[in-house]
């Protein structure tokens, strides 16, 4: 009886190990396939030149530039708001008040909204309400009321707000309360404490959140499809009202709409590889910082 039970047990335990190994396998297959097919085309030229001849030659620099510009604008919008929300929730708010609960509810739900709904929102609110309103107010033809960098960045900022808030809150929580109390004992005000004592200590965690949101912002395509991304632009975006090329959007369009799939395949795989390297690298850095912080916290530093 015990023997049979043990066999049963080992079987199920083995299944769980199998499940874990399957996840590893999935990762290896996907990343392996992309690296194998894409690494040949990666070169300095590929990263720094523009596409030519209907996307069958040349590089993808404009897409990289557009992605970077988009993400920079997004971070400028989301980081202050997210960090301040986390500061309010952790340092100032009474923990069970209705307001606190509402804010947490809102943050949690923003996290679950599908990315295409953000795209719809960007279109319906930013472009057609705010943008069109701005055009009307300034008496312009169509400058703000169309897809562009700014609206795409703001849409992504809203999408990533929960990421920043959650990571920042975790960072603030990691700062031991003794430090705050010591600061108060020395006569500092609340804000002084936050600004000079708590925040610097929480910086790695906040950075984690920022990096994770950058990684997500660079990878999401659905929110920017109708709020600013374009397939072939002969110039780099230089004002917030410009459209932009973007790595993820480029992959989507090239994979589904390019006229000669065989000819664009190398560039397609190369673009995917660049996007993958970008997002995974960012994720690695964020995870690394976060695990270092968590280890420090556990050691009671």
């Amino acid at each position: 009886m015990k023997l049979r039970l043990n066999f049963f047990g080992s079987f199920f335990t083995g299944l769980t190990l199998l499940a874990t190994l399957i996840i590893f396998a999935i990762l290896i297959v996907i990343i392996g396939n992309i690296v194998l097919q894409g690494h040949k085309i990666i070169s300095w030229d590929f990263i720094t030149k523009a596409p030519r001849e209907g996307m069958t030659a040349g590089g993808i620099f404009p897409a990289i530039f557009g992605t970077v510009a988009l993400v920079i604008l997004m971070i400028i919008a989301v980081l202050p708001v997210g960090v301040m929300t986390a500061i309010y929730l952790h340092e100032y708010a009474k923990s069970e008040s209705a307001l606190t609960k509402t804010i947490r509810f809102a943050v949690n739900n923003l996290a679950g909204v599908p990315s295409i709904v953000f795209g719809l929102f960007g279109l319906g609110f930013f472009i057609q309400f705010v943008g069109a309103g701005m055009d009307n107010f300034f008496g312009l033809e169509v400058v703000w009321g169309q897809p562009c960098l700014m609206w795409a960045a703001l849409t992504l900022a809203l999408l990533n707000l929960p990421v920043v808030v959650v990571a920042s809150e975790e960072a603030l929580r990691a700062v031991p309360s003794e430090i705050r109390e010591a600061s108060f004992a020395l006569g500092a005000t609340k804000w002084q404490t936050i600004r000079r004592v708590v925040l610097p200590q929480a910086l790695p965690g906040v950075l984690t959140g920022a990096i994770l949101s950058i990684s997500r912002g660079a990878g999401e395509v659905a929110p920017i499809m109708f709020t600013g991304a374009a397939y072939f632009l002969p110039y780099l975006p230089h004002k917030p009202t410009d459209q932009f090329m973007e790595l993820g959007y480029h992959v989507y369009v090239m994979a589904t709409q390019s006229p000669d799939v065989e000819a664009t395949k190398p560039i397609l795989y190369g673009t995917v590889l660049v996007l993958l390297i970008l997002t995974l690298l960012l994720n690695f850095i964020a995870i690394f910082i976060r695990s270092k912080v968590r280890r420090q916290m556990r050691q009671g530093v």
């Binding site: 335990t13 499940a19 929300t85 909204v113 599908p114 709904v117 929960p162 990878g219 395509v221 994720n283």
Partner: protein
């Protein structure tokens, strides 16, 4: 002594003045922080308002209702918005979403819950620190890359094994979708399993159960609400996911029980057609209606998951 006292007095007045100065800027800063925390709430409200605003004509405008009303959505199966006789039958599209999500959950639940169990119950310590980051790497792969992989590699692979009529189908998209939700379910389930108090596990072992009995019958059942919450959130994510299904499912608005047939999902319909609608047309309103439905659905899912997690926390604290 006296010197110290005079020094104190001198600096006290300075300190009082600087305290006053700090108070004003401090006040302003606190107000700014307070106000900025409203952005999250504002965001949700605005999404709500603006998506519903554009979806509302489906309920209120008589012109739009002739083409597309709640009735019409469910009385015809055909989704044919561009036509002299436009029809907006939603049944096939909703069912399409359902098919893909079912396939995705079918693969994702055993894999993620199994891996979570392994990580928290059986894995040696060194391995544990290794597994979690690896799953997070999977989470870091953008969905457009997963969709790309499904379109270029997986579709042909499955086609050569199953010889389905259609190369791009619900099965293909569903499997790719499962890759996207495995990390979601995994991290929440693993957290839940980890929070099971050691005392419970040790008590079970003391009573003579071995490791796997403890894991499956004690830890898992205690952590079940958390695991369920993870599954619910994974479901929400699967329903809303766009790029994977857009690229890998074939986008045919057909109603069929065969998982190897192409499907058209709600999210992919919006993504594929939003670019071409003229603002204010009935088609436009219908797409926003679909978006509103997705939004409400994920709101419900999220609230449900939070409720379930709340139960778990109270259970572990001994209140249930």
């Amino acid at each position: 002594m006296e010197n110290l006292k005079t020094i104190e007095k001198k600096h006290q007045s300075e300190f009082v003045i600087s305290k006053k100065r700090f108070r004003l800027s401090e006040f302003i800063i606190e107000k700014v922080i307070f106000l900025s925390s409203f952005f999250a709430i504002l965001g949700v409200i605005l999404i709500f308002v603006f998506i519903f605003r554009e979806a509302l004509p489906v309920f209120t405008s008589p012109e739009v209702k002739k083409e597309a009303s709640l009735n019409l959505f469910f009385s015809t199966v055909t989704w044919q918005p561009i036509s002299d006789d436009p029809r907006y039958g939603l049944i096939a599209i909703i069912f399409g979403t359902f098919k893909v999500v079912v396939v995705a959950l079918f693969f994702a639940i055993p894999i993620s819950v199994g891996a979570a169990m392994y990580t928290s119950e059986f894995a040696p310590l060194k391995l544990k620190e290794f597994i979690k980051p690896i799953v997070e790497i999977l989470a870091g792969i953008p969905s457009v890359v997963l969709g790309f992989f499904a379109l270029m590699v997986m579709a042909s692979f499955f086609h050569s094994i199953f010889h389905s009529t259609m190369r791009l189908n619900a099965f293909n998209a569903g499997v790719a979708l499962s890759f996207a939700i495995i990390p979601v379910i995994y991290s929440i389930a693993e957290d839940a399993l980890n929070s099971v108090p050691r005392s419970l596990k040790e008590a079970s072992l003391a009573l003579g159960a071995n490791r796997w009995q403890t894991a499956f019958r004690v830890s898992l059942s205690v952590a079940m609400p958390g695991v369920l919450a993870g599954i619910i959130l994974g479901l929400g994510r699967a329903v809303g996911e766009t790029m994977i299904v857009l690229m890998a499912s074939g986008n045919a608005s057909m109603l069929s029980a065969n998982i190897f047939d192409s499907v058209r999902t709600m999210s992919a319909t919006i993504a594929a057609e939003l670019g071409e609608v003229v603002h204010g047309s009935a088609h436009y309103n219908v797409l926003f209606f679909i978006g509103a439905s997705l939004f409400i659905f994920t709101l419900i899912i999220n609230s449900l998951a939070q409720l379930v997690v709340g139960r778990l926390q109270r259970k572990l604290a001994g209140k249930i």
